[in-house]
Subunit: 499 residues, 2 copies
């Protein structure tokens, strides 16, 4: 291997290790850390992140990347080395545009903002959070100003989560599906509602846990290279491609959070466990983007886990574990877990309404950045859009504008990745079904090896080598196209609600 | 505060945070990490330790310590700042004498040696471990050679664990107690043995766990600033003085490991939780030495936890939790948990024989360093001393020279701290009883607040401000003196065995 590439990999190993260490500090914080540990943990996280940032913006790295440019031009463009140089140069270029003073201020602001958000949400009082959010919006505007090369200020933010993706692309995609989703929801609302009361009863927590483990073991989650713990807000995290951990939460009186949460996080983890070993400790072992990552979690949670073939296999087992379901026929169960019901809270939303929650946030974020909406008017703007898209108005700010943690952490530009993930998942699903005509049959038999192998080969192993649009194009033959998702929703809910 | 001291504290904060991070990486490795995570974890630990070492030996720190010398001379000698400068300068002076090349070789050697030790122990074949141990002994000899200022090569090693302590002191102490302990054990052996069969039966694991929690909660362990997890080899670790965690192991068919292991680790943790907040992130928040730390764990495990007053309070509760003990009277239970029985394995040894296991190791370590015993002869030397001191000969090397992990990790110079901890615990105990004449009465009533407050005031809060001998002198009025431990053993086992 070229000595300079070797040198580059050496620098990246250290950065990657620091990120893994930071992830462990975060994992422990959300799973096992006693309350007393919070302050010290903040110091530890700040230190590791500073060290990682210093190394990611070091003159040594910059010089090396400069020296590698001529070599990069001679490499096969899709080779690991060519992509490694390209992605690292892109990250370096972005990171070095942001002054340290901005990062310090951003960290301090969001630390305070998160505390304020917790209090505001508890009291359902937006005014507590408002000054913090105003400062965060100003900081995000400033951040965008460091990237005058982007067309739209929101592009700079989006690019951190979806490399190469433009605001205009996202808006176009969302504009094309919004009327169709609104129309679908209205059609469903005119039909008799399905019954899901049986999901809301007492389910033994440890049995739920074991059932979830059973399902994801069958999906192919490798327990030698991961584990599952409890967390209030489930997440997946990686300390290496051979240590990819998931967390889940279990509600003693409602089956869905464990069931679909576990499968969702497993989808993320299968991606992490499937990255090619050659990419470990290069920075390329992360996924292509948040949306591509979400496409994997959504695929296992929804396309697989909320499908009829899946439950043809697993429902008898679930009934065995929970005899209280023995009187509920499969069809009724299937309809129940797929009940469409416009609600206030994004994380509880069904497949048909979920994207509308995201569109609302995207529109608000863009308007905030452009200065067309002011923070002080947010509760009204929020409630107005909820009524317009979902036909419901939150009774208070806790169930409205204060429901999500993201903005308090400065994560403006993040939400759209959730909806894009849904779209990509359906698009990939159509392609898989073309390649594997007996996929439904396999799922009905509880067989997931071929599905996982397909995802590994086409998506997982590449890590972050390709930008999201490029990867989707390679896998499906076209860029992100919402048509597949609309076809999926229309067919699925057409059958369930007899539209 | 003086600007230079401020600057010193800033540098030390970062070093301290790195040590805490390293501890978290280690804790996770031994509690929750899936097997696949091992290799990446090795990289992460190596990185953090390198960063900590770089900072602990940086020219910046050296220059600052030099500049602080005149100031240090003007400070009140026992003030935090004076001690901080003194301890940091001592650590810096020691650390900078060791070349990086030695550290790298030591790390590589011990990594391989630990793997070899595991295999050697499994196969009970010393020859697998022998070449590794030979290299380790040579490296420890080299390490000692970096410190020509010490009188004896073993002093340099001991000093890392027991600052200021000399080999000659330890030898003198051990020489004075060896004949008395051997004599005591012989006297016990001539008496009828006590019965402890009732401790070896089936005890529900989760009930054991809860009982252990109940006991240490009453001791004063602060669960808001700690937690307990399972580990194969129990240990206590700290990620800040407000996050001090213990681990324990539970044997489903033997009560002692959970019972005394939990109390032992709690003793360490109470020390960690009791350090003065002003010392956090200075490096002084660690304990005075391993022996002083062990004095705390042994005090709670043995002086409290294996005492009759303690069980007068807790035995009815234990019988409630485990009704299979209801036919066993308190006196029989008390004798059973204190059964003296010369055995092969140090960690399973009772209070009367424990120190002899340590003395054997100390003598061997010194002889190895001096070149008076060769590694190849170790099994024979070991078995000979076992027969001489304890009257038993291990049936194989697994139960003999291969039983402990320490040497494979390069920890030569460590063992004596265990025995010193026992001695200090008894010495402190006599002093506490003078200060608190109703101590036994309090323990009999399940009251530990005053005991803990005494330990906090006299020992815990000072962290590493004082060297071990200095601290023992301050607390008890004399340096480490084995007489108290001999008095304790003679009285306790005289009663139990009717000597």
């Amino acid at each position: 291997m070229n000595a300079k590439i070797q040198q580059l990999r050496g620098l990246l190993q250290e950065i990657s290790d620091l990120h893994y260490i930071s992830s462990l500090l975060g994992w422990d914080q959300q799973t096992y850390m006693p309350p007393g540990g919070a302050e010290a943990r903040g110091n530890q996280l700040a230190l590791i992140e500073r060290l990682a940032h210093e190394r990611g913006t070091s003159p040594e790295l910059g010089k090396l990347l400069e020296e590698l440019k001529p070599l990069a031009a001679t490499l096969e463009p899709d080779s690991d080395d060519a992509r490694l140089i390209k992605v690292t140069a892109r990250d370096f270029e972005k990171a070095t545009r942001v002054p340290s003073s901005h990062i310090v201020e951003f960290t301090q602001t969001t630390t305070l903002a998160q505390q304020a958000w917790v209090e505001a949400r508890q009291k359902s009082d937006f005014s507590i959070f408002r000054p913090h959010l105003e400062k965060i919006v100003a900081l995000r505007q400033e951040y965008a100003s460091f990237f005058p090369n982007f067309e739209h200020p929101y592009d700079a933010l989006l690019d951190d989560f979806e490399p190469g993706m433009k605001t205009e692309e996202v808006k176009t995609i969302f504009d094309s599906i919004r009327p169709k989703q609104v129309e679908l929801i209205r059609a469903i609302a005119s039909k008799p509602q399905v019954d899901d009361a049986f999901l809301h009863q007492s389910f033994d927590v440890s049995r739920q846990w074991s059932f979830g483990e059973e399902v994801i073991t069958q999906f192919g989650y490798d327990w030698k290279r991961g584990r599952q713990d409890k967390a209030a807000h489930p997440f997946t995290t990686e300390f290496g491609i051979n240590d990819v951990r998931i967390t889940t939460r279990v509600d003693a009186n409602y089956l869905n959070p464990m069931l679909f949460g576990t499968m969702h996080e497993c989808g993320h983890a299968l991606y992490g466990q499937g990255v090619a070993p050659e990419l470990e400790r290069t920075g390329l072992e992360r996924g292509a983007s948040l949306a591509v990552h979400e496409s994997q979690s959504r695929l296992w949670e929804n396309l697989v886990g909320r499908s009829l073939p899946f439950w043809k296999h697993f429902y008898p087992r679930l009934q065995q574990v929970f005899p209280q379901l023995s009187g509920i026929p499969l069809t009724k169960f299937y309809k129940g877990i797929n009940k469409v019901h416009p609600s206030f809270i994004r994380v509880e939303a069904d497949e048909a309404t979920y994207n509308l929650h995201i569109m609302l946030r995207l529109e608000i974020e863009i308007a905030l950045l452009e200065g067309k909406v002011l923070v002080k008017d947010l509760p009204d703007v929020w409630n107005g859009k909820m009524q317009e898209y979902l036909g419901v108005t939150p009774p208070n700010d806790e169930k409205g504008v204060l429901q999500d943690i993201h903005w308090s952490g400065g994560m403006i530009g993040y939400f759209s990745t959730y909806a894009l993930g849904n779209l990509i998942s359906a698009q990939i699903w159509e392609k898989i079904n073309l390649d594997m005509p007996d996929l439904n049959e396999q799922i009905r038999s509880g067989k997931f090896e071929a599905l996982l192998a397909w995802l590994r080969e086409k998506i997982h192993r590449h890590g972050a080598k390709f930008e999201p649009q490029e990867l989707v194009q390679r896998v499906t033959g076209s860029k992100i196209d919402p048509a597949a998702y609309i076809r999926y929703l229309t067919k699925k809910f057409g059958e369930i609600y007899d539209l």
